[in-house]
Subunit: 369 residues, 2 copies
């Protein structure tokens, strides 16, 4: 089989399939140059459970539940620590208005039965004394964790290689460039040109700061905050790095703009004043592969049952890596799609094609290479 | 003769001396890596005429007056345009408080007889429609110009070389490393270790933005603004670049900090909203060579009449380049210090040494190499 794209999705699929005995070739002229290089690595199905995305939330939760075992297995296979951390996520509101907006969301999340624990201001300060005194209130999502994508990527490369996958640094400009019985297109935004699927770039700008003198940041939790209407997150890493993100822009360029940097920094410093003294070490922009319903596209192309899409992960590529890899590997090896894949089918946007719940394209006879 | 330091000061001295027939060797392991690489290139003796610096202001004015001829001569000698622009400088205040502070300074500058023309809000908008509607008022300093240091440096290198100066990429760790009858120390902050002079690093952080799509910025003047108590300047370049600076910090590191970037960007965007859409292409910090009285140190060391200091230019290195080069070249070639040098003598900080106006150290017999 062939995999197009050596981001976390493509590599995890390659790893899983190769480990189960398939011959796998991964094509990517610039591995890890896509959205994952910019990603913060939050595993936040609870904090990112938004109104109107109930089905997506279920998928995020299912994948996040696989992360502890996935991380352990990956570290065992490679000897590489990937920065998987379980301190949980604090969600905070800076002003009264921010807190009111946050509380609406927390109530929704609690209504879904998700673990969201509102904290009294004193409890919030006990947990993170570095938070600005101005921060009006917060809540804890203890099961929302994090991983470091810049450690994850090389670990997945190593795991895929050790399992027997071959990485080829050549671009795939069209599907006919690939000679395989089954092809998985895990090319992020590049999937649109290869498959015609409605995957569009959604620009995100993100900053990396570093605590002075190389010490660990003065906070332990992932912090997601509303600050004067700006939504930001702050992800602390053991080595002193803090990831501060991110914009969500319907644009396809990757320039870093003065206004976005200013807004991110202002919100970050307002929430955690000590950040003002941190080094600003990186400002970058990446393109997330967005879809019309914000959910990924996983499964065969309507007219090409031998070509499986594994793209459209939008803001959720890291958290969805384990379940995507498992579902696609099961499909490639077993030929029968998991029911979880039904709402993620590639033909769900096709007005002329089968609606969700329609007949599955048959894949028999196309699944081994 | 030897020159230690291939920044604009050292190179301009080398150019002037070599052009007048001296054999000149310039020592610098990393030419142009000092403060000038970070400098904005404002030639602003009027806008930078601050309370209590009357003598320095006179020197800045005298050097700025030499800039048109200096720029023309340099371009003639090298064929290189150095971005010398004469649109003038607008000084503006964002809030009522900012404007009140600015007006105090303008009154002082007008009291010195300097060309500062207060503008009505409508006149301000006529001159720069891109200014934020919130900007409360401004004044024009028509004789404050600008040059691009990143064009100036290579032009000076070319001019010095064409005049016969030799650039040697070796470091000078102590004065005894140099074999010359006269040595000029133009090493910026590095002068302190070489000479014992009270030159200290003053950190400045600065940003470079770029107008989208490579068009010229939407404003023509250098803009110096007070914005909610923050003092910033914005220097537009023909190619679309805008330099936004600068912090003034008593620190010797060159890290870029989140807080400084945020404050610079906020002030810049508040004054010129279109900057929010500009690319942020560079954030850097440099170290200005500061002195106890903010004026440069030009002249022989108290105990080494064969060693001339040309350092301590602090925030004024670019504007002071022509006069520094002329005065030092005259001193090296003529042996008699110009009266302009008297308040800039190297022994003025020495409590045991000669006070300002004391006897000049004799330089005869040491001036040719």
């Amino acid at each position: 089989m062939a995999v197009v794209g050596a981001g976390p999705i493509g590599l995890a699929i390659a790893w899983r399939c190769a480990a189960r005995g398939l011959r796998v070739v991964v094509h990517d002229p610039a591995p890890g140059s896509g959205a994952s290089a910019v990603a913060a690595g939050m595993l936040s199905p609870v904090a990112e459970a938004y109104f109107g995305e109930r089905q997506l939330t279920a998928l995020l939760l299912a994948s996040a539940a696989r992360w502890p075992a996935f991380a352990a297995e990956l570290t065992e296979a490679t000897g590489v620590e990937i920065g998987y951390r379980t301190e949980g996520t604090l969600m905070v509101g800076l002003t009264g208005d921010d807190l009111a907006e946050a509380r609406r969301l927390w109530a929704y999340q609690q209504g879904l039965g998700l673990p969201v624990t509102p904290l009294r201001p004193s409890e919030l300060r006990d947990r993170e004394p570095a938070l600005a005194p101005r921060v009006r209130g917060g809540a804890l999502a203890p099961t929302d964790h994090q991983v470091d994508p810049r450690l994850l990527l090389p670990a997945l490369r190593t795991a895929a290689r050790r399992a027997g996958a071959v990485l080829v640094p050549q671009p795939v400009r069209q599907l006919s460039d690939v000679d395989a019985h089954v092809t998985v297109v895990a090319a992020g935004c590049g999937a649109a040109a290869l498959t015609g699927l409605p995957v569009r770039p959604v620009k995100g700008q993100i900053l990396r700061l570093r605590a002075p003198d190389g010490v660990a940041p003065g906070f332990r939790h992932v912090i997601r905050g509303y600050a004067d209407g700006e939504h930001v997150y702050l992800v602390p890493r053991a080595g002193g790095e803090v990831v501060l993100g991110a914009t969500v822009e319907e644009r396809s360029d990757t320039t870093v703009t003065a206004g976005a940097v200013q807004r991110l920094l202002r919100a970050g410093v307002d929430l955690l004043p000590e950040l003002a003294e941190y080094d600003l070490v990186e400002a970058v922009a990446g393109l997330r592969p967005g879809t019309p319903d914000n959910a990924p596209i996983l499964g065969p192309l309507p007219d090409r049952p031998d070509v499986l899409a594994a793209t459209g992960h939008h803001r959720h590529g890291i958290v969805l890596t384990p379940i995507t890899a498992d579902l696609i590997a099961d499909l490639v090896l077993g030929g029968v799609p998991d029911p979880l894949l039904t709402p993620l089918r590639a033909d769900r946007f096709d007005p002329a094609g089968a609606a969700v719940g329609g007949p599955e394209p048959t894949m028999e006879g196309h699944l081994w290479n």
